[in-house]
């Protein structure tokens, strides 16, 4: 099971070397065996998955192939509405989020043949970067139990890392795809704002929310993105730009690409092993033919803060009823973060929204006139111990949350595509990760550089010792 990728499994299924029922049963057996400890799932769709697997096998037997994911078992963050399954959004309420229409991204994946294994655990209301959840259990890091999985798409990260699922959907408002991908040693892609529909997924912040793939390999992320990207009448923020074939040029290499390593902000107060690993990755990309240089970027600090203001104001608006009627059900840190939004003035919220366009134009002008891509760390430290980020005063925990997501948050404000992928391991065996940032809607170049690095560095062959 742990040797399959979405791509290799999809090919094996189409060639009838393995059946959808066999691989689904294998995933469900791993979930049965490992998830009581990992806590990656909130809902396991065992009967539904087996039923769908039989249907996919029957279709294959009749010569019908739905698409590249035909028969591939996958999982969805428990804020995506999926037919017949509850959507808790990590809260105590089983059916917290009810949507009239299923999540567009899930529907597209299922239409392409994916099998729904279940709904993955997450930080309550997606409000936190560590992956802890007192209601459904703290998601454990597959590489080292007792350490964070990263959040808020914590269960998606752990499920893919521990080979409970071949791929998963995550959402990202301040880093919630990239942080668990980095902590769990897998690939996570936050697409450009407007590239992937958020319809049918619980909103945390309309202005900053993104949905995207979490996979073992860069090629798998490209494959999933190709299925879920594109205009959707149910999400007015989606772009009508054409969706390219992301696998078509993915092996073209990085020769001639200009890759910038930020000279400011992104290496400040970052763990020395992470700094060394990212700089070594830059060196390797240079050896592969990229033109690597340092580049000074417009200060992302204020932008990260402003992104947080938008998120707090919008999240309290979205979840006001829960906060008003059942505040005792919300974990104290999550409640405090929600309540903070009540104090943000309309004037400040609107000023940030007004500033966002000019700030983004300036960032694009300054950075992408010099380079084609940016390369930076994803997390400032390897996955911390769960106890260290869940105990202490609420305001101290919130400050630590802000520090942990300070490298990812600016790109939600900027809406740019960012790929996080493994770039080594710490001395304690925890994954390290880098981010590749591209121009708007240029996921193809981001994925091409990620693929070149992944192939050269070969971290992808390492698996956690989950059994």
């Amino acid at each position: 099971m742990s040797d399959w990728t979405i791509e290799s499994l999809g090919a094996a299924l189409r060639e009838r070397r393995i059946s959808a029922v066999e691989i689904t049963d294998e995933c469900l057996a791993r979930i049965d065996r490992l998830d009581p400890t990992l806590r990656a799932f909130i809902t396991v769709n065992a009967d539904g998955a087996r039923r769908a697997a039989k249907e996919r096998d029957a279709e294959l037997a009749a010569g019908r192939v739905r698409g590249p994911l035909h028969g591939v078992p996958m999982a969805w963050k428990d804020l995506c509405a999926a037919p017949g399954l509850p959507t808790s959004c990590g809260t105590r309420t089983r059916d917290y989020f009810v949507s009239e229409t299923p999540c567009t991204a899930v529907a597209r994946l299922v239409a392409a043949g994916a099998i729904t294994l279940g709904k993955t655990n997450m930080t309550e209301l997606a409000l936190g970067p560590f992956g802890d959840n007192a209601h459904h259990g703290h998601v454990q890091n597959p590489w080292r139990s007792g350490h964070c999985s990263g959040g808020s798409s914590s269960g998606s990260g752990a499920a893919v890392s521990a080979s409970l699922a071949l791929g998963a959907l995550g959402s990202d408002t301040g880093g919630s795809i990239r942080l668990p991908a980095a902590c769990c040693g897998i690939v996570g892609l936050k697409p450009t704002y407007g590239r992937v529909s958020r319809a049918g997924a619980m909103a945390l912040s309309w202005s900053n929310d993104h949905l995207g793939p979490m996979t073992r390999t860069v090629r798998d992320a490209a494959l999933m993105l190709g299925v879920i990207a594109g205009w959707d009448s149910a999400d007015s923020t989606t772009s009508r730009r054409r969706v390219p074939d992301y696998l078509a040029g993915i092996d073209a290499g990085v020769r001639g690409l200009r890759i910038g390593v930020p000279a400011n902000y992104y290496f400040d107060d970052v763990d020395t092993e992470i700094v060394a690993a990212v700089r070594d990755a830059a060196r390797q990309l240079g050896e592969l033919g990229a033109r690597v240089s340092e580049v000074r970027v417009p200060d992302p600090g204020p932008l990260a803060e402003a992104t947080g203001v938008i998120s707090r104001a919008e999240s309290v608006t979205i979840h006001a009823r829960l906060l008003r009627e059942r505040p005792q059900e919300i974990q104290p840190v999550v409640r405090a973060r929600l309540e903070f939004g009540l104090h943000i003035s309309a004037q400040d919220y609107l000023q940030v929204l007004r500033s966002r366009g000019p700030l983004t134009r300036e960032f694009l002008r300054v950075v992408f006139s010099q380079v084609d891509l940016l390369l930076a760390p994803t997390i400032p430290e390897p996955a911390p111990e769960i106890a260290a980020v869940t105990t202490g005063k609420v305001e101290d925990i919130i400050k630590r949350m802000g520090r942990f997501s300070r490298l990812t948050r600016p790109f939600n404000g900027l809406g740019l595509p960012v790929l996080s992928l493994p770039c080594g391991f710490s001395s304690r065996g925890l994954p390290l990760a880098l981010s590749i940032v591209g121009r708007p809607f240029d996921e193809a170049t981001v994925l091409r550089a990620g693929q070149a690095y992944e192939r050269a560095a070969a971290w992808v062959s390492r698996r956690p010792a989950t059994g």
Binding site: Y193, S239, R242, H343, D348, V352, T360, F368, G415, P440
Partner: protein, 49 residues
């Protein structure tokens, strides 16, 4: 910024953020409205369409 919070640490954080927002929004003109953000991104995308 809304000064309604009685908690001193929240009030201090609100003031800090308000100052950052004031600096970020310096230079905005009366004509600046919140832009369609996807349009801003589409303007900055590589020109393949």
């Amino acid at each position: 910024m809304n000064p309604s919070s009685a908690d001193p640490s929240v009030a201090a954080e609100l003031t800090r953020l308000s100052d950052i927002i004031a600096r970020l929004s310096r230079g905005l003109s009366l004509a600046d409205e919140p832009a369609s953000f996807v349009t801003v991104l589409e303007e900055g995308a590589p020109g393949d369409e």
